[in-house]
């Protein structure tokens, strides 16, 4: 690093230390930009891929009201994808490049969406647990040092908490419902609990990105701390539903005033991240098919816009 860069980097870090936001036109280290592009595009991809497991039940929603609520939620998630792609574009990467990375498997998305939705309670469990875990992460991100990301998160968080309430309401109806509905609800928490905890990422001691991201204030709270926050908030909600959290080590700890709990199956975590979960291939293929299959539509829109532009120019001439 030459002297100029060192000066710039020092100024950059002192700005961050002073809790000032970094804006797109500001100087930033390459690695900061790269980390953000990786994280923000991954986040955007998660919103978009996340539409698929919920979409799986959209045509089978059990009432018109539930169908309408789910359509609105899925629409929100697509909207989050849009804000996030736009926010990432401020860092000089195009949406097409980000898609290309998703479709080639180079970019990741949240592994939670590689699990299948098998019964209607899964839609409740996703809202309650997955959106719940996402909020826990995203509230921390509202104070992220990169201005466009932080602002996108403020917008997103408001809608996510709405989703979480609606998901919980489905769980409430199911766990107070018929015997079969209760079974569906318990089955859903059995399958979604651990994957939801995995959403917070590896333990701090094993996380490659954590310490640098903390210095840059991209990340403000560690994975383990966020995960514990989520467990502490969510276990009482499960109790209230009368559902059993699938963890026999789970116990209230008077001393720490929080829950002790078991251990994540990290082999499963790595396996799904590596692309070998039940739905990884299918999810990615669905996205590729939509994108490739839609090319003629995007080409047509572009061709039409060009023609219109030319017509306007001819008219003006």
């Amino acid at each position: 690093m030459d002297e100029v860069d060192m000066e710039l980097e020092k100024a950059f870090q002192s700005k961050i230390d002073a809790e000032l936001k970094i804006e797109p036109k500001d100087w930033m280290p390459d690695a900061y930009r790269k980390t953000l592009v990786r994280q923000m595009s991954q986040h955007a991809h998660s919103e978009v891929v996340g539409m698929l497991p919920e979409g799986n039940w959209l045509t089978r929603a059990p009432s018109l009201k539930r169908k309408a609520i789910l359509m609105a939620k899925i629409q929100d998630e697509g909207g989050h994808g849009l804000y996030l792609y736009s926010a990432a574009e401020t860092l000089g990467v195009s949406r097409d490049e980000m898609y290309e990375q998703l479709h080639s498997g180079k970019a990741k998305y949240s592994s939670i969406f590689n699990y299948p939705t098998l019964n209607w309670a899964d839609i409740g469990a996703i809202g309650w647990l997955v959106d719940g875990a996402a909020i826990t992460n995203q509230i921390a991100l509202c104070r992220c040092s990169y201005g466009p990301y932080a602002r996108a998160m403020v917008k997103v968080c408001k809608e996510e908490s709405f989703h979480q309430r609606q998901g919980y309401e489905i769980m409430m109806n199911m766990s107070n419902g018929t015997k079969e509905q209760k079974e569906m609800a318990q089955d859903a928490i059995n399958r979604w609990w651990w994957p939801a905890l995995m959403m917070f990422g590896p333990h701090d001691k094993n996380s490659d990105h954590t310490s640098q991201s903390m210095t840059w204030k991209i990340k403000r709270t560690s994975n383990d701390e966020l995960r514990q926050r989520f467990v502490d908030a969510t276990v009482p909600q499960a109790d209230y539903l009368g559902l059993t959290v699938p963890d026999d080590k789970l116990a209230w700890n008077e001393e720490t005033q929080s829950y002790d709990w078991g251990e994540i199956d990290w082999d499963e975590f790595r396996n799904v991240v590596a692309g070998n979960g039940l739905c990884n291939r299918e999810r990615l293929q669905t996205r590729r098919d939509a994108h490739d299959g839609g090319k003629w539509v995007r080409d047509a829109a572009l061709a039409y816009a060009e023609k219109q532009k030319k017509r306007m120019a001819d008219k003006a001439a």
């Binding site: 959209l58 359509m71 489905i170 839609g294 003629w296 539509v297 995007r298």
Partner: protein
Amino acid sequence: MNDNEILFEYLLRLGDNCAILGQRLAEWCGKAPVLEEELALMNVGLDLVGQARLLLDYAGKVEGAGRDEDQLAFFRDTQEWRNFLLIEQPNGDFAKTMARQMIFDCFQYLQFEALTASKDKTLSEIAAKSLKEITYHRRHSSNWVIRLGDGTDESHAKMQAAIDELWGFIPEMFDMDAVEDAMVAAGIGTDVSVLRARWDDMINSILTEATLQRPEDTWSVRGSREGKHSEHLGFLLAEMQFLPRAYPDAKW
């Protein structure tokens, strides 16, 4: 049929179009050609499901047999549905979905515009509320018909094929029968046969701008008013109605 039975039947005709088209649009989830369109299709579908809820809820009240919107949506078989044949046709490619949508949006716009003057206050209120949504739907679908028609050679061919494929489903939408006549006479309904001329103007100007050929009126199919549907509707209903049918005692 007594007056209530006629009104009930009329409301089903209005509401079923919305319910089935909303369901068809829901099938697009995750498969749209571009993210912005993912949102737009969900948005239109959501409006339609909302309209279906208002109309079927009201239909249930008029019927007075204790059926609510969900009993009407989830516990009727193919023969009891009153949506147009056009509406239940499979999505096909994006051109076909947009062609179907544009044909219906233009129709529904004119129909609901007239229904805002209905003597039935509940119906006129539903029509007025929906008309704002339909205004957007119509703009959205006709823009796509124009864009694809006047886009590339490929998109032009696809859009022309879609229009040709759906053309024979159109005449049914403008048919009058005893129920429609009675509703017009009561000042509740609107004479759809009179709407045809304005609908033709709308469609002609869209097709012209899209550089598309208006197909010859060489064929037409009918039957939805008597519950004679295409084979597609049964599968749509099987998917849509699965949960309430499998667990009839459950509340969701």
